[in-house]
Amino acid sequence: MVTNQSHREPAIHRIGIVCPYSWDVPGGVRSHVADLAATLRERGYFVSVLAPVDNPEFLPEYVADGGAPTSVPYNGSVARLSFGIKATRRVRNWIRQGNFDVVHIHEPLAPSLSLLACWAAQGPLVATWHSSQDRSRILNAGYYIAQTAMEKIRGSIAVSEAARTTLVEHVGGDAVLIPNGVRVSDFRDQEGVNITGSPMILFLGRIDEPRKGLSVLIEAASEIIERIPSIQFAVAGPGDPNPFIENMDSHVRKQFTFHGTVSDDEKRRLLHQAQVYVAPHTGGESFGIVLVEAMAAGTPVVASNISAFSRVLRGGECGELFENGDASDLANKICALIESSTDRDRFIHNSNIRVMDFDWNSVVNHVIAVYESVHTPGEKVTEDLRGQIVGRFAKRGVRE
C-alpha cells in the first residue's frame, strides 16, 4: 500500500523503541527491532532503540545503552534481561531525554526494560507481541503488574496469529496482526558464489527440535545421494549434532557438514552458496520467515506443505512443496529441482516478486499506520510517576 506523505503533516517524527533482550545476542525479537529501526530511519524518522547492552563499544548511534543484562531463566531458556533500580533510572532518563512522539515496546510483559518502560511512560504507547506463551507464565508475571502495563498501551500489534491468540485468550486484549518483515535488500546485495562447485542443500534451524524436521531430511539423504552422488548437505543451527551423526551410514555422513550456530552474515553466505534451501518443518510454524529470507537471497525453496509454508509459497508457485513428513517425496522433489534449471529459474523469478509482500518497506507502512492512529497531534510520551513507589525513588537519581 502506498501512503501519500505530502497530504499529511509530519505529526510523528521521534520514535522510541524498547527491546527487552540483549542487543549483543542474536534473536528473533532483537533482529525484528533492528530491522524496524533501520527501515524507519530510512523513511526519515528519528529512532532511538533502548536495549540491554553487554558491550557498549560497537553500539550503532541509534541504540541507547539500557545497562548490562543479567542472565536469568525466562520463557523456557536463559535470557539476558535488564531490571532493577539502575535499569529503571536508565528507562526514565531515556524517556525524559528522548522527547518521543511514540514509544514502541516489544514484548511488553518481558520482565526487562519493556515492562519498566510500560510503567515509567505515559502517552502514545504501542506494543508488539512476539511470542506465544502459556497462561501460567503470564499469571506468574503478576496479574496486577501485567494489567497496569496492558492498560497503558494504546495499540497492540501481534506478529503472528499464535501471538495474537495468546493475548486475546490469556491476557484479554485485542491486537492487529502485522507479520514480521524481511529486509529483502540485505539478502539480495550479495554475490552468489558456489565455492565447492558441487550442489549443496541447506537446512537452517534448531537441530534438536523435532518439529524443524532435520530427521526427515536425513532420511531422504541416502535416496538423494544415490541420484546425485556429489551432493553436499549443510546444516546450520544450534543444537548437538552427535545423536544424528551416530545414526548415519558412513556414505551419508561424509556428505554432511554441521555449521553450528551461524551469524546473520554466515547465514546469508550459506543461502547464496546453496542450490536448494530445504524447510522440512513438520508443524508448529506460524509464518516461516526463513523461507522468505531464502527467497530473497534467490535460493530455490523446497518446503513441507504445512499451511504457513504453502501460503508463503503461494501453493507451489514460488517454490516446491512436498508431502509433510514424507522423506521419499522430499528426495524426489529436491533431485527434480536440482536437475531442472527451468524450474529453478521460474521459482527464483516468482519468489523475487513474492518477497516484496514481506519486505520491511511495505510492512513498515502498517506499523506507521498504527503509530498514527494512537497519536493525537502535539502529544508526547512523558514520564509517569503516579502510584509508583519504586518510580519515585528512582526519580531522585535521574541526574546521575
Binding site: 492498560e151 497503558k152 494504546r154 492487529v176 502498517h366
Partner: protein, 180 residues
C-alpha cells in the same frame, strides 16, 4: 495488649484498603482518559475518511450517479457528528457500504488510470485503514474499562465517579479496496 494488636491490624487493613482503592481509581482514570483520546482519534479519522469520500465524489473520477450516492453518504456521515453514537455509527457504516459499492475492482482499475486517481485511492485506502485501527484500539480500551468497572470494589466505592459508562463503537468499516 490484645486491644492494641487488634487496633494495629485494623489500621493496617484500612491503609491497605485505601492504597488498593486509590490505585484502582488511578487505573480507572487512566483508562477513561485513554478512551477519550481514542474517541477523538477515531472521530478525526472518520472525518478524514468522509472528507476523502467527498473529494472522490466531486473531482470527476466517478460517474454522476455514483458520485451522487457517495456524496450523499459522506455528507450524512459528516452531519451525524452531533447525533447519538448509535446513529453516527449507522451513518458511518452506510458510508462504508457506499464506498464498497462505488469502488468495485472494475471501477478502481479505471480510476487508477486517471489523472490524480492513484493518489486519491491511496489516500482513501490509508484513511480506511486508520479508521479500522482507531476503532479497534478504542474498543479494546472500552473492553478493559468495562471489565474494571464491573468489579465489586469499583461499584461499591463509586470509584468511577460520574464518568459515563464507555460504549463500544459498532461500525462496519471494512471497505475492500485493491492493493495499490
Amino acid at each position: 495488649m490484645t486491644q492494641w494488636l487488634f487496633a494495629g491490624l485494623l489500621v493496617t487493613a484500612l491503609v491497605l484498603l485505601v492504597l488498593y482503592l486509590s490505585m484502582t481509581a488511578g487505573r480507572l482514570d487512566r483508562l477513561h482518559r485513554r478512551i477519550d483520546l481514542a474517541e477523538s482519534g477515531l472521530d478525526a479519522q472518520l472525518l478524514r475518511r468522509s472528507g476523502i469520500a467527498l473529494e472522490l465524489a466531486s473531482n470527476g473520477l466517478l460517474d454522476p450517479a455514483t458520485s451522487m450516492v457517495l456524496s450523499e453518504a459522506a455528507h450524512s456521515a459528516r452531519i451525524s457528528s452531533d447525533r447519538s453514537i448509535p446513529e453516527r455509527d449507522i451513518a458511518e457504516s452506510e458510508l462504508t457500504d457506499a464506498l464498497s459499492a462505488a469502488l468495485d475492482p472494475e471501477e478502481c482499475a479505471y480510476i487508477l488510470t486517471e489523472q490524480g486517481g492513484p493518489e486519491t485511492l491511496a489516500e482513501l485506502s490509508a484513511a480506511v485503514q486508520r479508521v479500522q485501527l482507531s476503532r479497534r484500539f478504542l474498543n479494546d480500551a472500552v473492553r478493559a474499562c468495562t471489565q474494571l468497572r464491573k468489579q465489586r470494589s469499583v461499584r461499591w466505592f463509586h470509584l468511577a465517579g460520574r464518568a459515563p459508562w464507555p460504549v463500544f463503537r459498532e461500525i462496519n468499516d471494512h471497505v475492500s479496496l485493491p492493493d495499490l
